[in-house]
């Protein structure tokens, strides 16, 4: 055997992911092609038909779809994702500028969601059928039902306009502060690295509301799956065994029951991460967050197809990689699966 079994498994999964991404690129590209809006008309509304034909020819838009797709993919493999008509920059450059903003927002949102969702789920499972459980269920239902765009606007209205608790929703950092030198791309972390605690604090305050709104969408699915998985694993004989031994909370609830519940929780979190990146578009628009989501939304509304395709590919790759990581994490969580993979 040339590779150890686990590595072979990873390689096989990566190969499958590549095929999936190729398929997605095809769909994204054809979608851009088939849409009725014409990028040339939307960019230059006041040109003659001859001029339009000339520009189309220059841009290669007169070629048949397969040729255009092949050209597109050839340049993608060279790291060239085309040029954004809206910003005038290359898409790669645009994304390099915006990706850290989205990553920082998503990270804080997901961490917030997990930090609250998992304990809520555990508490619900432990207090199953009691008042606490019912109250948490109502809270979850509410958290899931409230649309992010509405909540974002309401929070801005009260916390900023009315009470001045939150800073104004003008993106990652107020212009009063200079951006710290980029190390991680996370302004909060870069601020700390640069020793400018006021900048880090200001960036954190800017993040607070959008991360809360984004994270609230994570809390309730995580809490619900944690609750149901914990209820199941709490009924396992080995949990009862631990209770009979008089083992403490740390062993019985966290060591035995929560570890037993971890596989479905990680699976759900994997799904949610994909959703968070897609959902970031709304939150970023509401909070004027200079991230990928808003970039994609702007590109879609202006029929700027190169960024749209690239954003779709990026989100699809995120989902594919997350899924692979989730599958691999099973092996860490559960030795039975580890031995299964190794076979």
């Amino acid at each position: 055997m040339p590779f150890p079994p686990l590595l072979r498994y990873v390689l096989r999964r990566l190969a499958i992911s590549c095929l999936v991404l190729l398929g997605i690129s095809l769909i994204a590209f054809s979608m851009a092609y088939l849409l009725p809006s014409d990028p040339v008309t939307s960019r230059y509304p006041d040109i003659t038909n001859e001029q339009r034909a000339e520009i189309r020819r220059q841009m290669g838009l007169d070629q048949p779809l397969p040729v255009q797709y092949a050209r597109y993919m050839a340049s993608v493999f060279q790291g060239d994702f085309g040029k954004s008509l809206g910003t005038g920059n290359s898409v790669a450059e645009d994304i390099r500028q915006r990706l850290p903003a989205t990553l920082e927002l998503a990270t804080y949102g997901i961490v917030f969601g997990l930090v609250f969702g998992i304990p809520l789920g555990i508490v619900s499972a432990l207090r199953r059928g009691r008042m606490t459980d019912h109250l948490l269920r109502v809270f979850n239902l509410g958290a899931q039902s409230i649309p992010a765009f509405w909540l974002g606007v309401v929070l801005i209205f009260f916390l900023y306009f009315q009470w001045r608790i939150a800073p104004s929703p003008i993106g990652r950092l107020s212009p009063m502060f200079s951006t710290p030198p980029a190390v991680t791309g996370f302004l909060t972390v870069d601020g700390l690295i640069a020793g400018k605690f006021d900048v880090a604090w200001a960036a954190l305050r800017q993040l607070m509301l959008p991360a809360f709104v984004l994270g609230l969408g994570v809390v309730s699915p995580v809490a619900r799956i944690t609750r149901s998985a914990m209820i199941e694993s709490l009924q396992e004989d080995y949990v009862t065994f631990g209770q009979a031994l008089g083992l403490g909370f740390r062993y019985v609830i966290l060591g035995d029951a929560f570890r037993g519940a971890l596989v479905p929780i990680v699976t759900t979190v994997g799904f949610i991460i994909g959703n968070v990146f897609a959902g970031a578009a709304i939150v970023e628009t509401v909070f004027a967050w200079p991230g990928l989501g808003r970039y994609a939304v702007t590109a879609i509304t202006t029929s700027d197809m190169a960024p749209v395709c690239t954003c779709i590919l990026l989100i699809a790759s995120t989902v594919a990689i997350t899924n692979l990581l989730v599958d691999l994490s099973y092996a860490l969580i559960d030795p039975r699966i580890r031995h299964e993979y190794a076979r």
Partner: protein
């Protein structure tokens, strides 16, 4: 003899059927029993007769509705919170299904070490390791199995691990809830032999729950026969199984397959257990008992047949010395 390791007094734990609120609740009704130090007591009865419920109440995995559980004269059933948790190590349970009672995500060593560490039985890892090896040899587990996960072990080995973990915190009493019924017959014999040898070495008291007459006969010195939440007959194994006084015990023995012809004249119960037919104030076996007669509409007390052999049947009053033990009367009323 000094205080019994376990004394159960008039323990009741009933479960009502939520779907049929008018049906008779099942569970345990006013059971009393004692287990002396180093004694192996059997608890036998058919499925649903409450033997597992009783075992779980004794281990405080369930809270009894009424009655008390004394462990070395400490009211285990009244303990709460921290003192309850600390006391739990004195009563351990071995569950029926060895495949589910081990944490699939821990190696045997880690799983058993939790028990050792929790009560500070061992000071450090080296000592824990030494104790683990000792325990493994005690329950007949090969040392290599310590580093393996439950799914890499056989059913018999898994049950040995469960016994090992229960034994790790040096309990006064182990409740074995059908520990071998999920195993192959050949493995059953090995595990039973290990348990028996182990019991003579460590001297821990066992409450051995089973539905298998042969297993109880092999393991136990004394046996309690349960039917529908009450103890119908109890006493030394030779007496109860050799000269069964209660029709239910006779039917139970008759139902057990044997190679040699049985000494007892076999009887069989009628039909199946229908909870709706049973009334609370009468003998629980009456509906199905072939020997039932007029007196059976009143629940019989336990009649003492001598040598600790007691039977809750009106007929045993005729065959026995007719001496009704006052404590048994009180327990049954």
């Amino acid at each position: 003899m000094n205080a019994p390791v376990l004394a159960v007094r008039n323990l009741t734990k009933l479960f009502a059927d939520a779907a049929r609120p008018d049906a008779m609740p099942v569970g345990v009704r006013g059971v009393s029993l004692e287990v002396a130090r180093g004694e192996v007591v059997g608890l036998i009865g058919e499925s649903g007769c409450g033997k597992t419920t009783l075992g779980r109440c004794i281990a405080r995995l369930l809270d009894p509705d009424s009655g008390e559980v004394l462990v070395r004269d400490v009211p285990f059933s009244a303990l709460k919170g921290h003192s309850l948790r600390n006391f739990r190590k004195n009563v351990q349970v071995v569950f029926q299904k060895p495949e589910t009672c081990l944490n699939p995500r821990m190696t045997v060593a880690v799983f058993v070490r939790e028990a050792l560490r929790n009560f500070g039985i061992v000071a450090n890892n080296a000592e824990a390791r030494k104790r683990l090896v000792e325990l493994a040899s005690l329950v007949g587990l090969r040392e290599a199995a310590l580093e393996q996960y439950p799914h890499q072990l056989s059913g018999g080995e898994r049950q040995r691990v469960a016994i090992m973990r229960a034994l790790a915190c040096e309990p006064e009493l182990i409740v074995l809830d059908e520990p071998t019924s999920a195993l192959d017959v050949s493995v059953q014999a090995q595990v039973l032999r290990t348990l028996k040898d182990l019991q003579t070495v460590v001297g821990t008291s066992f409450l051995f729950i089973s539905h298998d007459v042969a297993v109880i006969r092999y393991m136990c010195a004394r046996v309690l026969v349960m039917y529908l939440g009450v103890v119908v007959e109890e006493g030394p194994v030779e007496a109860v199984f050799g000269r069964p006084a209660h029709p239910y015990t006779r039917a139970l023995l008759a139902a057990a397959p044997r190679i040699k012809p049985r000494a007892v004249d076999p009887i069989a119960l009628r039909g199946e257990l229908m909870l709706g037919d049973v009334r609370l104030d009468e003998c629980p076996v009456r509906v199905r008992c072939p020997l039932a007669h007029a007196r059976c509409v009143e629940a019989p007390p336990e009649f003492d047949l001598g040598d600790g052999h007691r039977s809750a049947c009106w007929l045993s009053a005729d065959t026995a010395s007719r001496s009704v033990s006052p404590t048994a009367m009180k327990a049954a009323s």
